[in-house]
Every structure is written in C-alpha cells, then in structure tokens.
C-alpha cells in the first residue's frame, strides 16, 4: 500500500532510535541486536520490492503530511518512485542486509552504535533514491555522508581510519555545500523546492545563466560522491580503512547513488532547459572515460586488497557515468544493470576480503600469496565474482557491457573495454595468487604500499580456524544473485529496464505525474530507444573481456618467467603516486580546479 513509501525510510530510523534508547537490554545479548538489525534491513528489502512491483506500470507519488499540490505548485515534500529508483533502493537494502549478516557476532561492536549507524545509513540511502524534492535529496545525502564518516572512523586506535575519515568528510562536505549553494540558487529563481516544479520552471527559462550554474553546483556534491576525476581522491583513502561491511556499502551502492543523483537531477530538473545535449553528453562521456582509465591504472598498481577493489570501483564509476552521459535510454539501461551486477559482485569480493582478514589477519596481497589455500569456498566465490567483474556471461555484467557498448561511440567502447579488462585482471590476479598460489611468490614491494597494508590488523577476533557461515553465505548468495540477474537477461530483463529508463528520461511525464496526478502509459524520451536484447556480440564481448582479464592476471603472476621485462618508468610512476598524496589540502585544490574547469566547459557548451 501507499504507506510503504514512508515506512521504508522511517522504520530503520525508528529502530535505530529504539536500539539506542534500549542499550542496557543489548549489553549481554549481542545476538538480539544483530537480529534486530538484520530483520529491519530485510523488512526494508521486502517493502522496497513491493514498491518496485507496484511501480512497473507507472511512477507512484506519495505526499508527506498530506499536502498535495494545487495548480502546479507543491508545498509539501513528496516521494516519487519509478522502477529505477525503487530498484536502486532495493539493491542498497539487500547490501545492508548482507553486510549486517556478515558482521554477526564476530564484528567488534561498540555499544549499539554500529547497528544504529548502519540502519541510519540504510534510511538515508532509501530516502535519497525515492525522494522527489531537491532539498530532501540534500538532507538524505548529508545523512548518508555523516553516517559514513562515523563508520569509516570505526577503529580509531589505528592511524589510517582517522586520516581516511577526515579526507572523506572534508571533501564530501565541501561537495555537499556546493550542492546546497546550487539548490539555493535554483530556489531563488524558481521559488520551488520540488523537482518537478523546478523542472517546469527551468524549461520555461532555457539556457539562462542561473540554470547553467545551478546545474553544475548541484552536480558538485554528486560528482564528489561518485568519485569522478578529479574529485575521486577520497575514495581510496576511505575504503582502505573502513571496516569490511562498510566498504561493501560504499563500493556497492554509495558511489552509485551519486551517479543516480546526477541522472535524476538532470532528467527531472534540467533536461528541458539544457537542450544542448550533444556537448553535455560528450563532456560527461569524456569525464567518465578519464575516470575509468585513472581508476584502472591505480588499481593495477595496488597490493592492498581493499584499495585495489576501491580503485576498481572508481574505474567502474567512470564507466557508469559514461553510460549515463550518452543521455539515451539504452545507455541508462546498461548503466542500471551494470550498477546492479557490479554491486553484487563487488560486495561479494569485499566480503571475501573480510573473511581473509578474519582468518589470516592481513590484506596484503604480497604477504598472502598462497596462504589462502585453506579457504576453499571463499576462494571459489572470490574467483567467480572476479570473473563476474570481468563481464563473464552469465553474470549480469556482460549484459550491461553489451548495452553500454551499443549506446556509446566506438572510441569510448574500446577504452572502456580496456579498463574492464585491466580491473578484472587485477582482481583475478589477487584471487588466483592468494587463494590458489598461482604464479611466483612476489619478492619486492614498494615500501609505501607495504606500510599501508601493515596497518590493517583486523576488525574481528582473528585467527579463527573456520570461516563462520554468517560470513561466507552472504558472499556466495550475492554472487549467485549476480548470476541470476544475468540469466534474467535472456527472459526480457532488457526491455523491461529500458521501458523504465525511457520513463525516467521523460521530463514531461515526470512533471505531469507529480504535479497533476496524471497517469501516462506511454512516456517518450528525447532520444528514441534502440532495443536492449541479448545478442551474440554481447556474449562474445563478455567472454573476450573475461579471457583478457585472465590473461592479464596470469601474465602478471608469472611475469618473471616472461622473456620481456616491462619496467614502468619510475619518474611517471612517482608523479602518478604523488597525486594520491593523502594531504587534504591537495584534494581540495584539485576539487576547486576541477569545478572551475567544468564550469568553464559547461558555460561554453550551453552558450
């Protein structure tokens, strides 16, 4: 029923408050606390799945406190759910459930704070996906951010988490304040905070100065959250030091929420006004490609298991942005399915890394070489998930790769496939090396990376003899889910998601649905939709990428037996490493420069 919209966000908040108020009850009963959190997260999954089922025929709108719009003016806050928003929210809730199951009992806990913060994070994610009001979007964005800062610094007895959390907090906060400035700007022009109403206003003032600047400013916070170059520096620092279940959420869903925000803000508020879509789409495409390349390159150099996964997230975030940036339904379809597939396999990879940390006490790929042989099931899940990251059919990522490739120009496809091969190869290298002892044991390692990995000593009581079921089952289940979603591709997933994408991109339908309670059954997006089906080409591409990744992994593992020795140019490497310096001042400087460049480019494009 309708009230599910409100309940999906407020139930986790209420439970978080309740468990904090009833802290003495949980002091001796850790299992009760875990159970409460898992049950709450699971119930949110159910609620969102029900919402997703209800909105397949058309978006649903829910007005809070009963203030419905009149004459095209909204005075209350609304939730507006379509299939894509509800689907992303469901994905987030699924990952939270998996993360809470993983942290059952063994995860070091501090009173009730961890569980409360995770539930608050869940509520923030759900609210962010479902909301139709731009200031409400900002509020949930901030809520996610603050819960994330707190969770990143969860183990303050080590240095890394504090520095990571500080870099994360300061850069994301600046992004958030720039977004708020954009919101204030667009409010000053339109006098509305409802996205549909603002969209109607901006369409009446296309290309005005205020609209262009407000668009980029609102995008600032979302670009920082999505870790797009040059706003990406915080992600590796934060991921490397956050506890594993938290990393699952960051990589799986939080970064993707930034991208969703960009798509949502553009399509519901600015698509009518910024009609120069060719220039804007090229800009987003180039940004995405650059991010993908940077992420893949840094990922390849890493030996810290979590950091290499973090950089691969940056790379994939770039791919998603490129797919969204082409601004047509096929690209958005590809991005949506890619986000789902990537989230599931990346979460599984992080959970396996967490198991390694729990059993073996370190995340250094060099020190772990061959030591994971006892972790048979974990190793299997890791390698399968890694192949899934490398677009192997039938994991859902191959479908998405096919659709995004069909939507983008050729040069972008080539570069992005290369990035996918490189990141997949890195993950496979790590998996094969750690769990199967493939390749020659590495001898040397860059001192900086050795230092970083030495700090990660463990977030649970380590050195246990068996892997707890509550840790391995979520990882395996997520991987199976990724395969299941991929198999759905053969039974009509593509056209269904594309219909949702077309509806998402039709601003007129959005405004009518929200402000005038219209029910439009055939939305029409600005670009015609090319069919999203599974072709032999996409299967072949997926297989090729997976094969390429495996090749790269094996080449790297056996590189000392190769006749040719590729030595990276030390000067270039030093410069590249210098960018990821860890100094917050640098990150802010790059953020400002990046904003200035983007501002200049957008102003030129739209003029």
């Amino acid at each position: 029923m309708d009230q599910l919209f409100a309940l999906a966000v407020t139930v986790p908040l209420a439970v978080a408050a309740a468990i904090s108020a009833l802290r003495p009850l949980f002091d001796q009963r850790r299992w009760l606390l875990d159970l409460a959190a898992i049950v709450t997260a699971a119930s949110v999954v159910v609620m969102l799945a029900m919402i997703m089922a209800r909105v397949t025929g058309g978006d649903q709108v829910y007005w809070f406190a009963g203030f419905r719009p009149a004459r095209g003016i909204a005075i209350g806050i609304d939730f507006e759910a379509g299939s894509l928003s509800a689907g992303l929210a469901t994905l987030g809730a699924v990952l939270v459930t998996a993360a809470m199951t993983f942290s059952w009992r063994y995860f070091e806990r501090v009173a009730t704070y961890y569980h409360a913060l995770m539930l608050i994070f869940l509520a923030g994610m759900t609210g962010f996906c479902l909301t139709g009001d731009i200031f409400d979007l900002f509020v949930w964005f901030e809520l996610m951010g603050v819960a994330a800062y707190a969770l990143t610094a969860y183990r303050p007895e080590e240095r890394g988490p504090l520095q990571g959390a500080l870099n994360f907090a300061i850069t994301n906060s600046i992004g958030a304040y720039l977004s708020l400035s954009g919101i204030a700007l667009v409010y000053g022009g339109s006098g509305a905070l409802n996205m549909a109403q603002i969209g109607a206003w901006t369409t009446r003032h296309p290309g005005s100065r205020l609209v262009v600047v407000a668009f980029l400013l609102i995008l600032a916070g979302l670009l920082v959250k999505a870790a797009i170059v040059p706003f990406h520096f915080w992600l590796a620092d934060a991921h490397a030091v956050a506890p594993t279940p938290v990393c699952v959420l960051f990589s799986g869903v939080m970064v993707e929420l930034g991208l969703y925000g960009i798509a949502r803000v553009y399509w519901s508020m600015f698509s009518g006004a910024l009609g120069h879509q060719y220039g804007l789409s090229r800009l987003l495409l180039v940004l995405g490609v650059v991010t993908a390349v940077v992420g893949a390159a840094y990922s390849f150099r890493e030996r810290h298991l979590k950091r290499l996964l973090a950089f691969s997230t940056i790379s994939h975030s770039g791919i998603f942005l490129a797919a969204i940036g082409v601004l047509n339904p096929l690209g958005l379809t590809g991005a949506a399915v890619y986000v789902a597939g990537h989230a599931l396999v990346k979460a599984a990879l992080f959970l396996c890394t967490g198991i390694v940390l729990h059993r073996l006490g370190t995340v250094d790929e060099v020190r772990l070489h061959g030591r994971g042989r006892r972790l048979r099931v974990t190793g299997l899940v890791y390698v399968v998930a890694g192949l899934g990251l490398a677009d192997l059919p039938p994991v859902a990522t191959f479908l998405a790769e096919g659709w995004t490739d069909a939507a983008m120009p050729g040069w972008a496809v080539v570069i992005l496939l290369g990035c996918a091969v490189l990141t997949g190869g890195t993950v496979l290298r790590a998996g094969l090396g750690v769990f199967y002892g493939v390749g020659d044991p590495p001898t040397r390692q860059a001192p900086r990376q050795a230092q970083e990995t030495a700090e990660e000593t463990g977030e649970t009581d380590t050195g246990r003899q068996i892997t707890p079921l509550t840790m391995i089952i979520p990882a395996a289940a997520l991987t199976c889910a990724a395969i299941a979603v991929g198999c759905l591709g053969f039974t009509g997933l593509g056209p269904a998601v594309e219909a949702a994408a077309v509806r998402f991109q039709d601003q007129g339908t959005y405004i009518a649905t929200v402000l005038h309670s219209a029910r439009i059954s055939h939305p029409v997006a600005p670009f015609p939709a090319s069919p999203a089906d599974v072709t032999a080409v996409s299967v072949a591409t997926g297989l090729a990428v997976a094969a390429g990744s495996a090749t790269i992994a094996l080449l790297t593992l056996y590189r000392r037996r190769l006749p040719l020795r590729i030595r990276p140019w030390p000067r270039a490497v030093a410069i590249l490493e210098g960018f990821q310096s860890g100094v917050i001042n640098d990150y802010v400087a790059w953020l400002v420069l990046g904003m200035a460049c983007l501002g200049g480019l957008i102003a030129l494009i739209v003029r």
Partner: protein, 114 residues
C-alpha cells in the same frame, strides 16, 4: 546594491577554501569548513529576502502583512544546529588523530602514514 550580498557569498566561499588549502593545522581546516558552510546560509537568507517585508511571525502583526520567505529561514535554522554537531564529529577525528600521530599538520599526517 542588488547583487552585493551575493558577492559576499562568493567571497566567503573563496576565503574558506583558501584557508583550507593553505592550512597547516587540522582544527583550522575544520573551522574553514564551517566558513564555507556559512556562505550557504548567507545565500539562502539573501535569496529569500523581501524588501520591506516583516518577519514571518503573525502573532502581533496582521495576517496579510508582506513577510519574508519563511522556507529559507527554516532550512538555514536546522542546518546551523546540524552543522555544529557534524563539526563536533570532525573535531573528534582531529582529537584522536592528534593522539595517534602526535601532530595536526595535514602534510605530516600524510607522510607519517606512508
């Protein structure tokens, strides 16, 4: 003077970010973050101002008096309180960082970590 408050907004953002980029002390950087957020308050309140408007409290003025926009005031008001708590959170990171690293210089924090 129609754009003067907005020039002030840009100035505040600029000096806040400048302070952050050239800072050598973490607490100073966090305070610069507060400065950057203050610019959003000025912008919000400036955008909602109505010349000659009264405050939107109608307990002693007649009901249809022209008043300024209450929405931006509500937004700014909750933001101020929330920002204080978030700043407290960041400062707690700084406190613990000082205990672990022995220094609050961001340059040294990065180099100590390796």
């Amino acid at each position: 003077m129609q754009i003067f408050p907005f020039i002030v907004v840009v100035w505040i953002v600029g000096i806040g970010l400048y302070g952050m980029v050239t800072s050598r002390h973490l607490v100073h950087q966090i305070i610069c973050l507060i400065v950057v957020q203050s610019s959003t308050y000025v912008l919000l309140l400036g955008v909602g101002y109505v010349t000659g408007g009264a405050a939107p409290y109608f307990f002693d003025i007649p009901l249809h008096t022209r008043a300024v926009d209450p929405v931006v005031q509500a937004l700014a008001l909750t933001d101020v309180v929330v920002e204080a708590a978030v700043t407290a959170l960041l400062l707690s990171f700084a406190i613990q960082a000082h205990k672990r690293f022995g220094t609050l210089d961001p340059q040294e924090l990065a180099s100590l970590r390796g």
